[in-house]
């Protein structure tokens, strides 16, 4: 112990002895005198801060006002159907009789609701296996370079305007369906196929994120236990990523549900309860798109359309809520 302290003393003494102050070159450089008064007074910085904060608060405030007013305006017009025109909500949701021009007993949106949900669910159902396969391929099966390439193609696909998808659906898918199944070719099947392509990149890229978020050591641990590549993927990677993959699917469904023009171009636009996948029908969005211009503001037919818009808005809130719910579950 004493030897140790001796050694230490020597080391420190030597270090302190080396603390010779080198030649001082600081002639003009040196601290400013402290102006104590300035320390308690607002300065230019305080004002900058005030303005900067103000501007950003204003911007965020604007967005909040915007969202609130969208919900408010659409809500007010959408509810007018029920409060001013006294349409029965239950009737609105369950009747398939859509002819608002004929009065309040002909405002039934069930056909459109069913069609909207059908195309959304079917598109997600078809797209999900493909999306998961592509995502697995990108993260588990191929080189970074190939994955990068697929990724950029997917991004490009997201960037293609929806009318272009609609146009392709109209000129490629509808004729093919017409040839195979007869009829007009318009209908849920055509809409499903168009939406499938549109939601595929959305679901895929979110699934890729989900798979990438699974820690590497999970895979290594599983492989070390002798699991095959697929067992590792199926039992470990996909299990762990499930909540986020679900989120990806919900995002895809939200996109499908809200898509207007591409669907409107291939669905056939006849407000009829779809009896099969190739009969012309109408979704909430397609009906809004094609009819809003044909009604007069404030009349029942117009208000009825706003009710459809409100329904869309509510569904988008529901999708939002679902994403959160699944996300929270996933965290536990």
């Amino acid at each position: 112990m004493s030897k140790n302290t001796e050694d230490l003393k020597q080391v420190v003494d030597q270090a302190i002895a080396e603390q010779k102050v080198p030649h001082v070159k600081l002639k003009k450089m040196g601290p400013n005198d402290v102006d104590v008064d300035k320390l308690t007074k607002p300065s230019k910085e305080t004002r900058q801060e005030y303005w900067g904060k103000g501007l950003t608060y204003f911007a965020i405030g604007l967005i909040i006002v915007l969202v609130v007013s969208i919900i408010g305006f659409v809500g007010a017009h959408g509810l007018a159907t029920f409060f001013n025109d006294h349409v029965n909500i239950f009737h609105f949701l369950t009747s398939t009789d859509w002819d608002p021009g004929d009065g309040k007993n002909h405002v039934g949106a069930a056909a459109m609701i069913v069609t909207s949900f059908s195309v959304t669910l079917l598109a997600a159902l078809v797209a999900t296996p493909f999306a998961i396969a592509v995502a697995l391929f990108m993260t588990e099966y191929t080189s970074k370079k190939d994955a990068q390439f697929l990724q950029s193609v997917m991004e490009l696909l997201v960037g293609i305007p929806s009318v272009v998808y609609g146009f392709l659906g109209l000129t490629v898918i509808v004729p093919v369906i017409r040839n195979i199944f007869g009829g007009t070719g318009f209908g849920i099947l055509a809409a499903t196929l168009v939406l499938f392509v549109m939601v595929l990149p959305t679901i895929t890229s979110l699934t890729v994120d989900a798979l990438k978020a699974v820690p590497k050591h999970f895979r290594q641990a599983s492989a070390a236990l002798g699991a095959t590549h697929w067992q590792t993927i199926y039992k470990v990677v996909l299990r762990v990523a499930t909540p986020r993959i679900l989120t990806a699917i919900i995002f895809g469904m939200a996109r499908a549900f809200g898509e207007a023009l591409a669907v409107q171009m291939v669905i056939g636009n006849a407000v009829l309860m779809p009896y099969n996948l190739v009969s012309p029908s109408a979704t909430l969005t397609s009906q809004l798109t094609s009819q809003m211009g044909n009604t007069v503001m404030g009349t029942l037919p117009n208000n009825a359309l706003w009710s459809l818009a409100l329904l869309l808005l509510i569904m988008s809130l529901v999708f939002n809520f679902l994403v959160r719910l699944v996300g929270k579950k996933g965290q536990k």
């Binding site: 391929f137 609609g166 109209l170």
Partner: protein
Amino acid sequence: MNAKSRDKLATIIIHILVAIVVLILAGILGNILITGVPHLSWHFLTSEASSYKAGGGVRDQLFNSLYLLVLTTIISLPIALGAAIYLSEYAKDNWITSLIRTTIEILSSLPSIVVGLFGYLLFVVQFGFGFSIISGALALTFFNLPILTSNIEQAIQGVPQAQREAGLALGLSNWKTIRGIVLPAALPGILTGLILSAGRIFGEAAALIYTAGQSGSTVDYSNWNPFSPTSFLNVMRPAETLAVHIWKVNTEGIISDATIVSAATSALLVIVVILFNLGARYLGNKLYQKLTAAK
């Protein structure tokens, strides 16, 4: 079936599905470009659209699309920038902030047709702007704001915290630090986000049908007075964009060459979007290199 053959089967299935997707993608891009590009002539790009006979072009639609893009960007960039700065620099980690984030998520998940109809209600009807470029630009701003805000926020958050501390430790205000140090460092990311969102704006139609309108008025490209009704710069005139044009000629149009016009317009749209994509990447990299250049 044992684990090994299961593994093999899964690999095969995955490869088949991927192959199908690649084929679909190639088919889509190929179809658009092959059917459209041959009709993309100088004449097509520079002549007026025809309302009933074949042989029309998309000059006005092209200009309207670009003009709306520019206006929308001018309106939405400052707001998105402000909101993004608020979220990344000023927002405290509390329930108000998470409520604000939820609000922005809601806006981003709203169907664009709903945003368009709101624009119709507020600007076209309530404010009496009618079907006009300004109504369209405002509707597109709503549509654009959430995604642009979150892109910019990400870019800003990518700037190391040490940079902010450096600025603050020198006695700079938060605001000056953000403006002078954080934003320049985030510029590549911000620009990439801006260009990508520009691609979205350029192709958007649903939000425009009931705001910017589905028809054009006679436009005089030599009239530089933005208040004159025939001026190409007039923001109160109705304006059909390329994307709306495709929709219009396919659903309500009567021109005989609708398919050709839409194919060519589609190709034009897709090419522009590709250019935006590549441009965003190129510019982002370039700027990034310039900022961190070891000259």
